[in-house]
């Protein structure tokens, strides 16, 4: 009994095929998002089926999630990424109480109750500060890939102080720091700390552990440690963190 979850994110589309009997992921895939969102999602879904020699009729239900969820015409229903991330995290780590999801264009902090249901959430989707976009801007400025930027941050001795309020201003700050001879390692670490502080400000005064880190930014070296420092709590990166939303969508498809 296979179910599919499609996470049509702002930067990437992710798809997961989930076996509801064995409670395991059968296949997963990812591709860049584009203008023709529905066609791209369809292409990814069909590629997954083909690669795993599955017939379309074997998929009993499809849930779409993510920013572009309403564009996925072949989905049976849509569910928000907040609910899907909660379901995806619960599958891997049933005791989770807080989810921090940092994607390319937004970030979320989701609080779960003791039963694993969503208690409430905060989102940052009107400002690039606190999102993967911030890392991309800085990586581009320093001529590095995201992976290289993360590795470089790990070599920092004294992270630079960089504003967490605005990416545009932060970029100006970085130009100034470079002109003043600041080390690229320290700038990279400073940017990671700025993103993590932004997430911490969403968390407010109370935060329950365990805290699970999802989204593509969780794969960037150093981000987990930066988040841990800012939140003052241990942070666990979810298995395949960029797939959590799609996994949750597939699980929810199996329940509908």
């Amino acid at each position: 009994m296979i179910y599919a979850g499609i996470d049509a994110g702002s930067r990437m589309i992710k798809a997961v095929l989930f076996d509801a009997v064995k409670k395991q992921i059968v296949a997963s895939g990812i591709m860049d998002q584009g203008v023709r969102q529905d066609a791209l999602a369809q292409q990814l879904f069909e590629r997954l089926l083909l690669d795993h020699r599955l017939d379309r009729r074997a998929v009993l239900g499809i849930v779409a999630t993510g920013y572009g969820r309403h564009t996925v015409s072949f989905a049976d229903t849509v569910v928000t990424e907040i609910t899907c991330h909660a379901a995806g995290v619960r599958h891997h780590l049933p005791g989770a109480r807080t989810i921090t999801d940092i994607g390319g264009q937004d970030s979320k902090l989701i609080r779960l109750d003791a039963k694993g249901a969503v208690q409430d959430f905060d989102m940052n989707d009107r400002c690039a500060a606190g999102t993967g976009c911030f890392l991309e801007v800085v990586a581009r400025r320093l001529g590095l890939s995201l992976q290289e930027l993360g590795e470089m941050a790990g070599r920092s001795v004294k992270p630079a102080a960089i504003s967490s309020m605005c990416v545009v201003f932060a970029e100006t700050e970085i130009v100034g720091l470079l002109a003043a001879g600041a080390m690229a390692e320290d700038i990279a670490a400073g940017v990671q700390a700025a993103i993590a502080r932004r997430i911490a400000s969403m968390a407010g005064r109370t935060l329950d552990s365990p805290i699970i880190f999802t989204g593509g930014v969780a794969l960037v070296p150093g981000m987990r440690a930066a988040l841990q420092t800012a939140l003052g709590h241990p942070v666990v990166v979810a298995p395949e963190p960029q797939m959590t939303g799609a996994l949750g969508a597939a699980i929810l498809a199996s329940r509908q």
Partner: protein, 460 residues
Amino acid sequence: MRDAPRQITLEEWDARYAELSAAGMQEPTYGGPLRRHVGEGDLRLQNLRYDNSAASLRLWNFLLTEEDRLHQARAEGRKIVGAMKDLGTVPVMAYSLPGVAAFYPDGAWWLPCIMEDSTGMLPIADSLGIDESFCPVRAMLGAFVTGGHFPIPDLLTCSVGATCDDFSAIAQRLNSLGYPILWWEIPSRRHPEPDEMEIRLPGGFSAPETQVAFVRAELERIRRALEDLVGRRLTEDALSAGIRAANRVRRLLSQLRRLTYTAKICPLPALEMLVAEMLAIHFCSDRAEARVVLEQLLREVRERVQAQQGVLSKASARVFWVNPVADLRVMNLLEECGGRICGTDYLFCHVLDKIPENLSPMEALARIALADPMVGTAADRAERICRDILAFHAEALVISRIPGASHCATEGEVIRDFVHSRVGIPVIEIEVPPVSDSYRSTLRTRLEALVEAAKERRRT
């Protein structure tokens, strides 16, 4: 002509209006098809969905013709009082005098939404140094400068002190433009010290007797100004009669809220309920007609509840809403996302409380003014919100922020913590600008996720 309750577009209202007219619908002088207001510049109406009852049509027409009523009052020689910032106290006093119409100039904050920024009022405010970092109520400055909306009042009052800083700044700028303002002070409501006499206020609050006496003295200054304006005394009897008349409106609203927010199937959409609740502040410039409008609406709701009919699915998530939205479209959006309103605190819930009738009228008015949620702590407000959430069985809470508004800048977290600890329902905060179209998908995600969370909790 009765029709099954449902929400309809403006286009559908055209046909519905023709049907109702053909069936002999009785309309007041301000009646007519809803579409005519679009021709007068109320462009946002084209993007809203409305309740399809004749009672709701009358409500909308009453709301959207307020400027006409005020201009008519001026033409008839009646005195016009602009009661700024005060939500619901000075209008009760003003309507206790014959030949006076009172209104709320700050209500201009909805014009950038209703007219979709076509009025040019915000650029005027910008030019006066009151830019978008301030509350959208700054649109009021443009309305005064152009004179194109409401007539310039004969008397302008403004409460300051514990009300929001934005408004104080905006009103001071208005004052500097040559509009005289009678300022009156409302103190920050506090709990009495052990050696102070405690006065119980409507809404379950309390304050020291000294604060009540202070507000009473401030309101006496307003009373004298009103007497000077019309050249006659505002007697205790007239004030008492004015309070009783205001309470009749409040009672109607109280019944309407209870019926609508506790019904198994939502009998009236969020948007119409928001407009109805707004009538309590200054009666939309006609106290007697406000009562008639609400009576008709209440009859409609009662019939729908008895017939177990409504405008939304029975499965809709029951949502409590805090603070009014700057864009009316968002109330429709909540319903499109699977929610319904079950309880509100639009920052003026004290005007829904009965004004005490067993006290001297000025004492009663002072107590109701001090029960304003805006002049107490966020924790006080949260207490009342928790009580109402429980009373209306709400399953989720939305705290809506108004961009730039200083009165709700930081209260969200306090309210959220209170609601979590006392009631344990999901809470979100959203920010709604006057025209939120470009922000619609992110608002939709938040509201959909809240509804999903509320429904998930039903299952678990």
